[in-house]
Subunit: 214 residues, 2 copies
């Protein structure tokens, strides 16, 4: 290894640092522009111009506007979901409140209804969204619900993902589709519905076997 190789190393290092700076600048600019103009109006050209890079530089790392936006929103710092009261009802209520806050009052929540068309149309983009954005956020909640199974508060047969899809789905559907109110009252009633059901199928009380005198 001679001095020539050493010079190459220093050159590589300069390129590597410049790349890292550009990469960071593009993501930060995307976050800024999302807040300013929204997903619909954001363009790769606009991001490149403000970040001081060429369009080709953006496309070297991201295949589409959707891919860039999903990486930018995935990197937003979020308060981790660390509720773990040891009581399923309280934990699920905290989870639903968190879903309401994110959807109605966060930059990522604003982007979500704008992304849905692209997610349905582009399965690769949907995979990226689920791996980078959705799964890390859901797994914290899944773990807390899983603990309720371990404590015996929930049957091991419970489909935790279905419970979470029905929770987040009711909130999302109200917010974007039906326009019914998305409030604290929704959180309480939704958790009751999912844990207790509508109570419709309760059979009239039967004498328990052990209590019937022979």
């Amino acid at each position: 290894v001679g001095p020539e190789a050493g010079a190459d190393d220093r050159g590589d290092e300069r390129i590597r640092r410049r790349n890292a700076r550009s990469h960071r600048a593009i993501l930060d600019t995307t976050t800024e522009l999302l807040a300013e103009v929204g997903y619909g109006q954001l363009t790769i050209e606009g991001v490149a111009a403000r970040a001081g890079v060429g369009k080709a530089t953006v496309y070297r790392w991201w295949a589409s506007k959707g891919a860039l936006v999903i990486e930018a929103m995935s990197q937003q710092p979020t308060v981790p979901f660390d509720t773990d009261t040891g009581n399923l009802r309280a934990d699920l209520l905290a989870a639903v409140r968190r879903m309401i806050d994110v959807l109605t009052d966060s930059p990522e929540g604003t982007v979500l209804p704008e992304l849905t068309a692209d997610l349905v149309r582009d399965p690769r983009l949907a995979d990226q969204f689920r791996a980078q954005f959705l799964r890390p956020r859901r797994s914290a909640i899944e773990k807390v619900i899983q603990k309720a199974v371990e404590r015996g508060e929930l049957s091991p047969d419970v489909d935790i993902r279905l419970v979470l899809d029905a929770s987040a789905g009711a909130v999302f559907y109200r917010y974007v589709v039906t326009g019914e109110p998305v409030t604290e009252d929704l959180a309480t009633k939704l958790v009751s519905l999912l844990l207790d059901g509508t109570g419709s199928t309760r059979e009239p009380p039967q004498p328990a076997a052990g209590q019937v005198r022979p």
Copy 2:
């Protein structure tokens, strides 16, 4: 009333008929173009050109592309929801299956994830969507669930809209956001979850008062 007024009447009638033909042609063309290019690529210009009218004619009746598309999709003939088995579980299962079919396999279902951004951004458009498209479709299902209350299968306190939002929401959220499977199995499990709950809060069996010997 002389012959002159009669001539005017005939003129008005001609204009009225021509307007009705243009109105119908614009809506039919919108439905065709939605199927061919989707909501994202559909333009008022494209509709006007194919329908053989000017852009101004389209804008005379519809304020935006969204308003035009919502009216066109609302007029699509749909098989009415006429399931009424007299059993809540069977009726709700039929309703969830219908939601799955519409979302995953109908022209209106294809448009829905593409509309969400516009619905959140434009409250007037959202009102139009709810009045023209959503309410007529939901009310048929609401009536069937209401009958379960009247039969005593459901408590009068049950929030029927919340049950429907959680049903449709879970289906919609899976389809567009989490990508979990939207299948017959989902319909069955979702109805069980909403009617029976997770079973988490069932207290250990207590002896019923009448069975305790004094």
